[in-house]
């Protein structure tokens, strides 16, 4: 059950993110990138196998790795979250600069003539 929920969450986030990334407005692209990064973070997390109630650290005398959750993907997710957060902020600044410079929020800096 957990697996299905997680897989659906990743799928829905990715699908909406990709759709938004392909939209012509810069703000939609930012939101799309954020959604995809959430999906990727969940995906990395799931690569450590899904376990509930398992500790992340071993203690002395109980070194059976089967009892514990894999801490590496959790560390990876933490790094990935920080990096994508910072780069989304940077992207927002460029978005504002583009809006100020070109007077349009289209990704090409101008409206496509219909």
């Amino acid at each position: 059950m957990t697996q299905i929920v997680l897989a659906l969450a990743i799928g829905v986030l990715t699908a909406s993110g990709v759709w938004l990334m392909l939209r012509p407005r810069t703000f939609q692209v930012v939101i799309g990138l954020s959604l995809v990064s959430y999906a990727v973070n969940l995906f990395i997390f799931s690569m450590g196998r899904l376990r509930s109630g398992a500790a992340a650290f071993t203690s002395k005398g109980a070194e059976d790795p089967a009892l514990y959750a894999d801490p590496t993907p959790q560390a990876l997710v933490l790094t990935a979250i920080v990096i994508s957060f910072a780069l989304t902020a940077l992207f927002l600044v460029v978005l504002l600069a583009s809006r100020g410079e070109t007077g349009s929020d289209h990704v090409d800096g101008q409206e496509t003539p219909e």
């Binding site: 990334m21 993907p73 790094t79 990935a80 940077l90 460029v94 600069a97 800096g109």
Partner: protein, 531 residues
Amino acid sequence: MTDWQEHLIIGPIVLPMVIAAAMLLFDERRRLLKGGLSLFAMAAILVMALALLHESATGAAGGGDTARVYQLGDWPAPFGIVLVADRLSTLMVALTSVLGACSMIFALARWDRAGPRFHALFLLLVMGVNGAFLTGDLFNLFVFFEIMLAASYGLALHGSGEARIRAGLAYIAVNLTASMLFLIGVSLIYGVTGTLNMADLAVRIPQIAAADRGLFHVGAAVLGVAFLTKCAMWPLGFWLTTTYSAASAPAAAVFAILSKVGAYVIIRLSFLLFAPDSGDSAGFGQLWILLGGLATIGFGTAGLIAARDLSIAAAYAVIVSSGTVLAAVGTGNADVLGGAVFYLVGSTLACGALFMLAEVLNRGQDLGARSGRAVFDDEYFDPFDDEERNEPGLVIPAAVAALGGAFLISTLMIAGLPPLAGFIGKLAMMEALSGLGGWAGYGVIAALSLASLGALIGLTRLGMAALWARDDDAEPAIVVGAAEGVAIAGLLAACLFLAVFGEAGFTYADHTADWLVRPDAYIRAVLGGGA
């Protein structure tokens, strides 16, 4: 070996980071101090890189070919983080430091005034690139990649203006997407193999269960797409020309190494993870890289011929150079790879020089369009509105003649014509390819020859327009600052150096290729180091 020599390998990463952090303490107006600090940093990195290069050229202390492995925190290899300095990575670090030092000197003439925090961003970029070359595991590769990209976003926008912001927006979006693919690929590989250390991965790949191998290949392919986007393989490289041609000249020159980071990772992973003895995964993706490389050469050459502007032509030259290296990797042959490694060094230096020349030759023609309006008034001061500071210092006499000579050298390098080093690299590749035969061998030879012809036609035409067809009355004479002259001369001197000491350089490249096709030595050096 004394203690400080042990730590030499981490120097090209730590030094720029520390100095970049220290620069944030100083006000933007203290240009002299910042310029001096960055020059010091680049000189020190150059010395360290050359020391590392010398060591890998002469072999390890005990003799024989090996890699220098640095275990951070002294954790043994598959568990801790390692830095690995082997022949390929030290060569790339040395290339970065030469190109970086020259770009930095070029920027000191006036571009470092075009926007805030140029020096800190530049040093962080160098740190990220060096880290990506030296790291021994995939996740740190991601981290260094992101440092490099984050700094490059800042540098791409350096100088502001509408063209840069428009190009930067696309550049950031494409690279953020590629980073997501990178993460998906890395985590899939981790999920299947349970390790991120490259040497450990190479050991575990033959043991992957048949049921999981498909998943591993998916991960490797997704990871590959991320790097191929970075090295602008057709059809993933449309972002490159707009970004590089819009970026300020010193930034564009140093960006020439960024696409080589992608090519470096492709070389490293193809030969380490998918070596002939890696079981069912042997040669995975090779055909795609070969076809992609050929398509990239074709696309880049067509673009070069069609380019109307020298900086756009330089951007296409970067694409052609990436395509050539990819096609050579796709053949999977050690001799071809040796030629490609030699070619990569020369063509990267020449592309960097061409970006600088393009800016100098275009000067005075469309400055108004290029500098643009300030977006953030408090951060921005126009470099070209202050006559006194705009004085570029010593001015090189007979600028046009010197520039003509420089242009000739970089054209010969990019087109791969004798007597310069570009020819040696191409000739070595062609000789090995004709030995290889088959459609792949002759196809790549045809592509390389057409690329030479296309580069020659395109660059000669642009050079005539820029140098001979100048209307001296209508345009202001070209003024080359002393720093700019030194930077261009430095890059071209490195190109000439490659030609004069061609044999030593080519032997090094050839040994590098031999080292790369025998990954067991790399694996032993990394994993055996902790035992």
